[in-house]
Amino acid sequence: MSELGQLATVLGAVCCAYAAGAQAWAARTQDPRWRESGFRALVACAACLGLACAVLVYALLQHDFRIEYVARNASLATPWWYRVSALWGAQAGSLLFWSWLLATVGAAAVAGQRRAHPELCTVASAVLALLVGFFVVLVAAVERPFRVLAFAPADGRGLNPLLEDPGMVVHPPLLYLGFVGLAVPYAFAMAALVTRKVDGGWLGATRGWATGSWLALGAGLVVGGWWAYRTLGWGGYWGWDPVENAALVPWLLATAYLHSAVVQERRGAFVTWNLALVVLSFVAAMLGTFLTRTGLVVSVHTFAQSEIGPYFLAFVVAVLAGSLGLLAWRWDDLRTGPASVSVASREGAFLFNNVLFVGFAAAVLVGTLYPTVVQALEGVQLFVGPPYYLAVSAPLGLALLVLMGLATALPWGRASHATILRLRLPLFAALAAAVAAGVLLRRPGVVAAAAAVAFALASTLQAFAEAAASGARAGRGLLGGLRDAFRWRRRRYAGYLVHLGVLVMVVGIVGSHAYVREREVALRPGERFTVGPYEVTYRGLEHGGTPLAEVTRAVLELREGGGSAVLRPVRLYYPRRDQVVSRPAIRSTLRDDVYAVLSAFEGDRATVRVWVNPLVRWVWAGGLVAFFGGLLLLWPDRRAPKLPSPPLRPSRDGHPARRAQAAREVVRALGGSTREGSRP
């Protein structure tokens, strides 16, 4: 079994090497046969890696403890679904899974675009094959999940108990999909630079992939926070831990890219910037993976120290240097003259959005890497933790919310009187919210947040109301108006829906940070204390056990006003792993969560920590809404009847409007959509 897996992996590596070579040759000779051959090799590689993954999963399901990976990550007592998820539970298996995802995504992307953009696809698949090749070689030669033990133990060590959770089943695949998905726009951007076809063909071809990976990354982040909240027992869902930040940075850059890509499609502008942004997003994703897997930065999440560090570093350096070098080489070919963009326009708002998102990403990245750099230069160990990130994210987040509200009201091109009228309602909403918050809540940060959220919310709802109203005016009813908006302008309105979800999340985030209450008390049975509006009585300890763990529960009675509930936070000790896991008990409502943890116990005395976290449910609910909106974003637009496209006409005069028109025609001819029915 393990030989089959190892063989499949090695075969995958060979296919990748062949694919890269064949595509490189095809790019040189423009020979369609080599192109086809290279494409088939990439598909074969994906198939081989899929086989290797299947072999590993089979071994996990069959308790084949002869294979070291299975022995370390599964046990006879592990349920089958967690055994399957053990595929991505530790370094070697997750690298294999990652490689397979990358190969599959790459092959699918190339397959989808082969007819439309053959030259681009040639170079793009060569790039993708090289990327996959690196990871496969790492798996086949260095990490080797199919390593076999000298003798098969009777039982395996089992999965890290923290990972036995539905959130942990879903979170890594989502993140990996997000990371590898970013390779597609990257590969096509590289192809555009190499073949000098930079006019947006690459962008239109990969828009769906960019959106998909943005969505997967975002979903992965939220699910990760949800898992951490329910499992780790420190009362929060985001700790600004380096590994969390490593996934946040590419997501922020991808969000910036999604917005500025729209500007490029509409106006043909900022090609260079978009190319750079795509490269940065992908490099950030690779850097993030590197940080997560090599334990370079101190973190609670680190995989065990592994040997792949130096190879991975070399890889990231090669990718970054190669991409930026290529960009620098082609710099002069990219200059199309400054586009004319008005500050008071949607393009302008999107540009400022980019500045803020990229600034945010840079701040998070610098904060994450700062300890490492200082350690290398000065030999001192420092930490950059929540105080820094909160100080950075609060003002940037506020500014982004304001921009969100502005951009929804601003038109493309240039603002006019109508815009100012449009902004009346949001401004009034902001003022009203500020006054209400100022009187009732009195905290300047919360007041500012309330005003910004109200502004953006009113602006977004107004956009939906306008769509409904125009439907009513056209005789199709309010709902008909909304349906039309989602049918003909899906991207725009799905984007507004995502914004709505984000706003709900922001409300949850501000509430849970600003108004959290916490108390830590040592108690004897029968003693009680209050936290927030709740009264907590400690009733005693319950002891139990499973085959794998000693279980101790504290029984806490929660009372507030009329209602009461019982919370049983638990402390588990796994003797075989010598690991203590503390699982919180959470009573969750829309208003707040009561979150209880058993910190320590001695006899029947217990030290208990109880938080009251307001509005946490809003974070998850908002995440769901945003996710749904994101899914809608992926749904291809309904096309309006095809108009005859004018012949390609290179613009010789410098008039910006005509140049923009020419660029639009180029984009249209290359398959990007600028049509009436699908304008973003």
Partner: protein, 127 residues
């Protein structure tokens, strides 16, 4: 007018957290400025370890005694060194860290405003 002002003042006063609550908030504020020495990358406020619980108890005792938050933080820095701080102070090399986001965003916004912004294209439909 006066009764309205009075009511507003009472509402504002009522919105103040009670005394014990304020102490809890201050403990949490100090605890989130310190990294737990035995954990990998968790603040004292978040950490579930015994040392962190003991540090929180000590913070509470000192704050209740009337010490200022800065003094309590300094107490731990004196014993554990600057690596116990959850973020470097904005002095010396820490300045680069804190200044960078500000500079980057300011530079980007300035670039957008100066280089790129002009009269704009034709106005197109916005809804």
């Amino acid at each position: 007018m006066k009764p309205v002002v009075l009511v507003l003042c009472l509402v504002a006063l009522a919105a103040q957290p009670a005394g014990a609550q304020a102490l809890d908030d201050r403990v949490r504020a100090v605890a989130s400025r310190l990294m737990c020495p035995v954990c990998e990358g968790r603040t004292v406020a978040e950490s579930t370890s015994q040392l962190a619980a003991q540090m929180r108890a000590l913070i509470r005792e000192r704050l209740a005694r009337g010490e200022a938050e800065e003094e309590v933080v300094q107490y731990f820095v004196d014993r554990y060194g600057p690596s116990v701080l959850a973020a470097p102070p904005p002095r010396g090399s820490g300045l680069a860290l804190w200044a960078l986001p500000v500079l980057l965003v300011a530079a980007g916004a300035a670039y957008v405003l100066v280089r790129l912004c002009g009269p704009g294209g034709p106005e197109e439909d916005a809804a």
